[in-house]
């Protein structure tokens, strides 16, 4: 396994209704702060990606995906509204960044999840499979 340094972390922003009661003035302020935050992290090389999610969407469930329902994404405390992909040295650092989220003050939550690194065993298996395929191709 790799050391902890420079691992990817995903910040998942939960809550798609926290901004409903803000005034236009507050929305502008929060938007500017949030944007500044993301820009800064990008400049520092700590944010690799980040995108908002649309409020529309479906939830597929049941065997063979028989149930397709409209997701409760628009007005939900739980739904994910967007994400940042971070490249930082430790979970602590990722958590520290999450604490700067401007939505927290209004009831949004941030979930911090390390992106799993590939297991060395899986890597070996993949290489073996590739070699075998080449061997067949050459035959």
């Amino acid at each position: 396994m790799s050391t902890e340094s420079n691992t990817s972390y995903l910040l998942l922003f939960r809550g798609t209704n926290w901004h409903r009661d803000l005034s236009p003035e507050e929305i502008q302020t929060v938007m500017n702060q949030w944007r500044g935050w993301f820009d800064r992290l990008t400049e520092q090389g700590k944010a690799k990606a980040g995108q908002p999610l649309m409020n529309e969407g479906k939830i597929v469930s049941g065997k063979n995906g028989r149930v397709v329902a409209d997701g409760p994404f628009a007005e939900s405390k739980e739904a994910i509204g967007g994400y940042f992909l971070l490249q930082v040295n430790s979970l602590d650092e990722a958590v520290a960044i999450a604490k700067d989220c401007r939505g927290l003050a209004y009831g949004a939550t941030v979930e911090v999840r390390p992106v799993a690194p590939e297991c060395p065993l899986a890597e070996n298996a993949r290489q073996a499979a590739t070699q075998e395929r080449f061997a067949h191709a050459g035959a």
């Binding site: 901004h19 803000l22 236009p24 003035e25 908002p52």
Partner: protein
């Protein structure tokens, strides 16, 4: 990005969408605009601010509105009209200009609706702030020292009144305009005063109320329907007072009297605009309270320092103002002008002869003014008594701080200073006062 952009875009969009949806659906217009701004909050942090933020917000609001009317059969017969607005023909310059004019008209229509006589007076200001200036009920509550819930209730009642009375969403014409314009001016004046008065509410929000009142009055003044001498007079009075708004309080939150303010900090461009509109206000032959108040403010703005203030001119304006308005508060202000022209004793007499003076009994400034007059007469004990009375009735910290300081100034004089002075003047001794007493 422009300061207050979202707030002002909200004001524009709500007015225009209200015209399209009908005044009965004012709520809906507000919701659509809120949603459009929320979309900006969701996406701009990631993708950056669009080159034309206003156009982006407008477009999103239009799309949301279009979705909404397609879903809701209430709007079925309006779909074509609304769709036409939503997708204006790819426009030559003249068309975009006329669209701009149309949006201004919408805001004026909204002003006349908010200030319609069927809407209770106290709700008019709140409604104007909500629909035209994009303030939230919480912000309005903070400005008026009221709860968000109380404001929300006020707004709901106002919307019901508007719907119930079927107030048309239009700029009144003909004979009606004059009377209705007075209502609008009165509400804008009240809005400005809410922001200007030193007492109550959060400071930052109050400044913004003044600026919003000025913005709306300017919009009114440049529109043919509102371009009247009295509109210019109101605008002049707001500008000439608003220019001095920030210098009334120092960095530590202390009230600064006119003579203690740094005139270099007065807002020059606002004063210049104020004088411009004061000149415009003189166009007709009417003279109302706004003219006189603007004239008084102009005297202060024109003086390069406190001693060179033209008090006789100010007094003559107050004399005319008291003819038009018998408010005891105006008369109290006049007494200050009297004292500056004829001395503190004349000032006290002017206070004593105020009609309905009893209405001022709970007003802290009555006692503060009398305290100042007595102080100028070196009646320190009497002055201290008035400042104590004033202090009892002052509500906010900066006022209390100011009055305590004035009280201390009286008390720091020897408590028996009056008697000592009498004795001293009869003895005519120059060595009787110790350094401690002199302080």
């Amino acid at each position: 990005m422009v300061e207050h952009l979202f707030r002002h875009e909200a004001g524009k969009m709500i007015s225009t969408l209200t015209r399209l949806f009908g005044i009965g659906h004012l709520n809906l217009a507000e919701d659509v605009v809120q949603e459009a701004l929320a979309r900006a909050l969701q996406t701009w942090p990631y993708y950056g601010i669009p080159r034309n933020p206003s156009a982006w917000i407008t477009q999103v609001a239009k799309n949301l509105a279009l979705d909404l009317i397609r879903r809701d059969k209430v709007f079925r017969n309006k779909e074509i009209e609304i769709a036409n607005f939503m997708e204006p023909p790819n426009s030559a310059r003249s068309e975009s200009l006329s669209l701009d004019g149309e949006i201004k008209d919408d805001r004026l229509r909204m002003m006349f609706v908010c200030c319609h006589p069927v809407v209770p007076q106290e709700a008019q200001v709140a409604l104007a702030l909500k629909t035209l200036c994009g303030f939230s009920p919480a912000e309005i509550g903070r400005a008026f020292l009221t709860s968000e819930a109380a404001i929300a209730k006020r707004l709901t009642r106002a919307r019901q009144k508007i719907r119930g009375a079927r107030i048309p969403f239009e700029i009144p014409a003909g004979r009606e305009i004059s009377q209705r314009l007075d209502g609008v001016l009165q509400t804008l004046y009240q809005l400005f005063n809410e922001g200007y008065k030193a007492s109550g509410g959060e400071k930052l929000i109050r400044e913004e109320l003044c600026h919003e009142a000025i913005r709306l009055a300017a919009l009114l003044a440049e529109h043919p329907a509102g371009n009247q001498p009295r509109t210019h007079a109101l605008l002049a009075l707001m500008l000439l007072n608003g220019a001095r708004l920030l210098t009334r309080i120092d960095g530590a939150g202390n009230i600064l009297r006119l003579q203690d303010q740094d005139r270099a900090d007065w807002n020059g461009p606002m004063i210049a605009r104020g004088f411009f509109h004061l000149a415009q206000s003189a166009a007709g032959d009417e003279l109302n309270e706004y003219h006189l108040q603007a004239g008084i403010a102009a005297c202060h703005c024109a003086a390069k320092d406190y001693p060179s203030t033209d008090w006789p001119q100010i007094l003559s304006l107050y004399d005319r103002l008291t003819e038009l308005n018998d408010s005891p508060v105006v008369a109290l202000n006049r007494a200050v002008a009297v004292a500056n022209v004829h001395g503190p004793r004349a000032g006290i007499e002017a206070v004593e002869s105020i009609r309905h003076r009893e209405k001022l009994n709970s007003y802290y400034l009555l006692y503060a003014v009398l305290g100042e007059f007595e102080m100028q007469l070196n009646h320190h004990q009497a002055a201290a008594g008035y400042f104590r009375e004033s202090l009892k009735r002052a509500d906010i910290a900066s006022e209390q701080m100011f009055l305590s300081k004035r009280l201390r100034a009286c008390e720091e004089q020897n408590p028996h200073a009056d008697e000592v002075r009498n004795v001293r003047s009869s003895v005519r001794s120059s060595v009787s006062a110790s350094p401690a007493q002199r302080q």
